[in-house]
Each structure stands twice: as C-alpha cells, then as structure tokens.
Symmetry: C2
Subunit: 415 residues, 2 copies
Amino acid sequence: MTGSELVRGELADENGPFLARELARLGLVCRRITIVGDDPDLLEAAIRDGLKADLCVISGGLGPTHDDRTVELLAKATGRTLIVDPHLERAIDAVGRRYARNVGTTYHGYDEGVRKQASIPERAHVLGLAGTAPGLVLQHERCVVVALPGPPHELQRLWPAALASEPVRKTVLARVPPFEHRTLRFYGLSESTLAAALEQAGGESGGVTVTICARDRELTCELFVEPGAEARADKLDSALAAVSPDTLFSRDERPIEEIVLELARAQRLTLGAAESCTGGLVAGRLTEVPGASDVFRGCVVAYADEIKRSALGAAERTLANHGAVSAECALELAEGARRVLGVDVAVGITGIAGPGRGTAEKPVGLVFFCAAGPDARLEQKITFSGERDQIRRYASVTALHLLRRLLIQIGHIEV
Amino acid sequence: MTGSELVRGELADENGPFLARELARLGLVCRRITIVGDDPDLLEAAIRDGLKADLCVISGGLGPTHDDRTVELLAKATGRTLIVDPHLERAIDAVGRRYARNVGTTYHGYDEGVRKQASIPERAHVLGLAGTAPGLVLQHERCVVVALPGPPHELQRLWPAALASEPVRKTVLARVPPFEHRTLRFYGLSESTLAAALEQAGGESGGVTVTICARDRELTCELFVEPGAEARADKLDSALAAVSPDTLFSRDERPIEEIVLELARAQRLTLGAAESCTGGLVAGRLTEVPGASDVFRGCVVAYADEIKRSALGAAERTLANHGAVSAECALELAEGARRVLGVDVAVGITGIAGPGRGTAEKPVGLVFFCAAGPDARLEQKITFSGERDQIRRYASVTALHLLRRLLIQIGHIEV
C-alpha cells in the first residue's frame, strides 16, 4: 500500500484489509501488509521486500501526479525498461474526457499525465483500466506481482481480472492446499470468557488454528482447520458454542444489519428507526445493504427534543418527568417511529454520546434502547465506556442486535 | 500493528492512521507502517525491524488471550526477562470486575489472563491502563519502543502518556527539526488539474514537498516547508489556490461537517436533512461532531416513497410526474425537512445508489440535491460512478458541500 497520505494518517488504508480478506478467502496467508509513503527509496525497498514473497500485491502510486512512482520503481526493482503502451494511452485519454463531461467541468488535456499512466514495465500484462489507472501483473523470478490503483473502488474493480490472470492462477492459486474455515460470532460476550473456554477445551492444537477478534462488542472466533483435523475442530466448535449460546448470533460473515434485514424479510415485516444519540448510524448501516428498501422504510433522527415531540409524538410528560435519556423516551421513540413511518417493527435509541452533558445520575455512555413490534417489545439499558464515536458505534450495533432478538422472538425462530 | 484479524482483513487497522497523523503533527516522519498477524516468527521479525528506527510504536497483542504475543516477543527481541508487576495485576483484576458489573454479566475470574497482562519486560515503564491492557515504554539501544493496546480507543487514551514519557520526550521529540505545514483543500477539482498546476508552478523544489491526496471527491494538497523556503511556499500556495478558487473550501483539517456546523452556528441557523439514497449518512456525519446538537436538530430518512409523502409531505403529483429521483423531489424533501423539523436550512438528497434500479434515463449513480434556506436555494445533479457504498459516500459529501455553499451565500461570507 503506497501513498504519503497513508503514512501521515490522512487516510486509512482500505486496500490492505480488502486484499487480506480476499487472500484469506482463497486460502492464502498474508504474511505482512506494509504501508509506505511516496519516498522513492522507502517505496523501492518495500517493493524489493515484496518480491521475496510468492505473491506481491501493490496498491497505489499509479496516478498521473509526480508523487505516483510505483510503476517506475517496480520496473527498476525488476530490472525492466518502461514502455508506453499506445493502446492504453488512448483509453486513458478517453476516460479523462468522459469524467469531465459527467461532472460538467472542462477537460484539461494533460498529455504528460496520460503518457505517464500509459507507461508500463516491459512484458507486464495490463489488467484493464479503472479510473485512469491501469492494473498490471508481471512475473519476476518466483514472485507474481500485481499492481493496482490506490482508490479502493478502482482496486476492487480490477481485482477479479488480477485473479483471473494466468500468472496468478497458474503460479499462485494452483499451489494452495485445501483447508476448512469456520466462524462463530458472539455479541456481548467478553474476550476473556471465550479465551478461558478455548483453553479449557484444550486450546489450539491438532491442526486447528483459532483466532479471536473483538470489535464493537461483537466477538468473531475463527477456526482454520487442516485436512484430517475435522473431529478436533468439531469438539472445539461445540465447546465454544456452549459457552454462551444466547450470545452466539451467527456462523457466517454477514454483518448484523444484513441478518436483521433477512429476518424481517422472511416474515414480511417492515423496519424503521428513531435515533437520537446515534444520529442516523443505524439507518446508515441498514441502508448499506443492497436491496434494503424492500424491508427498511425510513428513520427519524430526532436529535433535538422538539423533534422527538413534534415529529415522533413523544409526550411532553415523558420528557419532563423522565428526560429524553430514559427508558420511557426510548419506548416512545420506537412506538412513534412505528406510527409515523407506518412500519411493523422499529427501534428507538436515546442516550448520551458525550463528551459533554453527562451527570452523576445519567453519565456519558448511558443509552436506552427499545425495539417494538406488533405484539412484542424488548428494552435494554447499557452504559458504554469510551469516546463519543465509540459510544455511538456501540449503540448502533446494540440497536441492531436488539432488533435481531425481537425479530427472532416474533417469528418463534429456533436459533 | 499486530493481529491476525488485520492480515486476514477482518478488521481495518485504525491505529496506523492515528499514529501516523500524530507523528506527522509532531514533525516526525513515519517511514513505514507494518501490519503482521499473530504468527510469532513474523511478529518478532517485524519488531526487530522496528527496533532499527528511532521510535517504534507497536499496537495490539497485549490482550489476555493465547494469540496476544507482543510483550513476550518484545522482551525476547530486546533481550529482557518478563516480570509480573503486582501493582498492575491488582489494577487489571479490578477493571475486569468493574466491566462485568457495568454490562451486567458475571465476572469470570480469569487469573491466568490477568497475570499474563501484568507481565512486562524488565525495566519497561508502565504508561497506565486502558481497558485491561497496559501501555509500555522502554528504551533499547537508540530506539524508543512504545507498546500500546490494539483497540483504537484504548490506544488513543494511552497515547498522551506515551508522548509525555521521558524516553519519548528526551530521546525522540527533542530531536525534531522545525518545519511548517500548509493545507489546501478542494472539492470537485480533479487530481490531474491540480497536478498540472503544480508542475506549471515549478513543481516540488527549494525545500517544499507537496502531496496531493484525493478522497470522496475532496482533494487535500499539503505543503511541507523547510525553514527558509517560505517565499517559495507562498508562490506555490498562491498558484495552487488560483487554479480553481471556487473549489478551494478549506485551509485546515476540519472535516466538511464541522465547517458546515460552524457556518450555521455563526449565523444562529438550525440545520436538518431529508435523506433517501444516503440513508442517514449525512445526519450521521453531522452528529459525529461533539456539540452538533446546538445546530443540527434532526433528519428524516425517507427511504420508501410513502415516507417521502407521509412524513415529509412530498406531493403525490411530484412523485407521479417526475419520480422520486428528480430535482423536484429533492426540493420537496428539503422544504419538507425545513417544515417538519422546524429548521432554517435543510438539504434533500434523492438518487439511485444501486446496484439495481438504474434505467437508461436514470442510471445508477444519479443523485439530486437541494439545499434550502429561508430565502435561498441551491440545487445540484450529479451522476457518480462507482459502487453503492461509494455513491452513497460521494453523495453525503456533496450534500455537505452544498450546505456549505448555501450557508456562505446566506451569510454573504467572503471566502
């Protein structure tokens, strides 16, 4: 991953995680993700380091500007000369013109930039264009090198072509040994409890590698099972699942918002939300999923108390007697959302994300939740610790899990 | 940055970007961010590699589970023995008990995990606890090593203590040469256009280093100016600013949502939104900013067309004649939000995020915006290219920039 913006932290690298996930899915072990800036010496050193692996994927530094140096340094590190691909030159120029037309700006012909982006190391194979940058693949001794553009969507668009390319298929993918991969995901279970259970069940051994990862109150436990270790994996799997069956919410990698949407879809129930402290994050997550619109109808972000009253019909009395951050208000938000949005099931969230406005009685991090359906209701109250953005994220995830529990209860679903 | 979840892409590293940003702010150059998994050999190699730098910050692998190996390997790489700190042991145990009480679960005393987390390399200095993991600092030959917990909020909580520690202050920070840092941020300008302008102005030279970074249609251009190069920097700065004065929106690092909130706050205007395809992302971004509540009142996420009618009063006729994805509907959303939420200024967003539902006339990526205030209104129509999440992100940023432009117009502000 290259780019000075990455080593100065102006941008978080999204490509490393994407590529790592893809490689894991294919059974390849990602040994190291290195992020360097545009400094030629450091970048060249990182490329030379990468050339020692079986597969080296480089992202970024393929752009038209002076600080994009990946291709030039890749050519240097592999001892090749740069040649201008005339085909590529025309294609890149056309993309620039089309982009300018779409956003309604003038196209500043920038021949030097086009020529730069059309220059590739000799014997490199072009994977196609995404944006104005070409993806490249080449073989250097026993290493297959894939160079992809830095913008994540461009990289992701070219990735299938990289996988389909002959060097990657024949030299890399053909050599991957088979393995099995199992996932157990828990919500609200502590890492220590799961770790203790793992140890009690004999820990990692006999061809089973286990990883545990906590994020936003969700715990993902993964078992990597070598051929022949299936019985050992079954035993471990059962032991871990038995730790806290209530908190085990998934055995696949679908995000909780997708699980919620599917539970609602299966029961032909529509969903909505009324958010205060989470400020739209729950709606934002639900609508991330393509096709959410057949289930999720809408949300009212009632950030100000007047909106809780005027747009959701929260009673003056509730707000006066219990305050906006109360179980009573969460209930009125959920029921208000059901009524105003005309949905079957809605979740209401109200709390104090901080950093200010906390009191001894109602500290920063205190959040009330209510998920309400036609004949069922679930409430929750949690005091999260952490910073504002973390409290908001935790609260969003908790709201989604509460919706999941309510939908399972409504549908009498065995889990 | 350590953790198998990172090299398998289950989690994107947030600590690298945070630390890189902090180091850049202090005038330190981050040469490389390395992400490795929990494999002891690879982790040890990465630590040994890090020990060659002046400052090596390690994050992650300080937890209670078997795959947390940072401290043990750091001790090995620096040739120290591990000792149990009894003080630390008691503190970690107390945190575990408190956490269990807060979330209402039973505390499973997990002595082995506590003892593991209380084990530190001899002569290491404890920076304090965040969660159950201690931060550590130690000096090894000419390298200062800081080890911090992996969860981003825990790392960030301990970071000030790391900076304040004697080895970091005296051995690292005292040696940083002075430099000046300038930022120019553009919205909607192409990278090539800025690159061409930079070249025309003589490019990087004379003690000024320039980086250009594009993200979500925003372009951040940074000038790193060595002492004595101020005149050269002024010249470059003016040349770049002159490329497209309309698109230059900021000279600092505040995110656009913060700029919007401050513009509204200064004019005592309240803000709201009505979102369709962005599904709550605009509200989510505005409420990320602490103190947003004095300006931002709320939002209606009108994902389904019925909600556009029932909750926002969009006219049946508009939807029937022009469709929900139209300039007319964006206007009704904005005006509906102003009315329903009782706010001065609101933005309406409606479009097709995809992947389905695009037509020849209204393709995926087409989004209409309207920002409306008491006596002013701005409209915009853009066809974004990219995937669903990218289109949604682009649209959110565009909505915020439209709000900024409207607020500047309302306030007759000179920019």
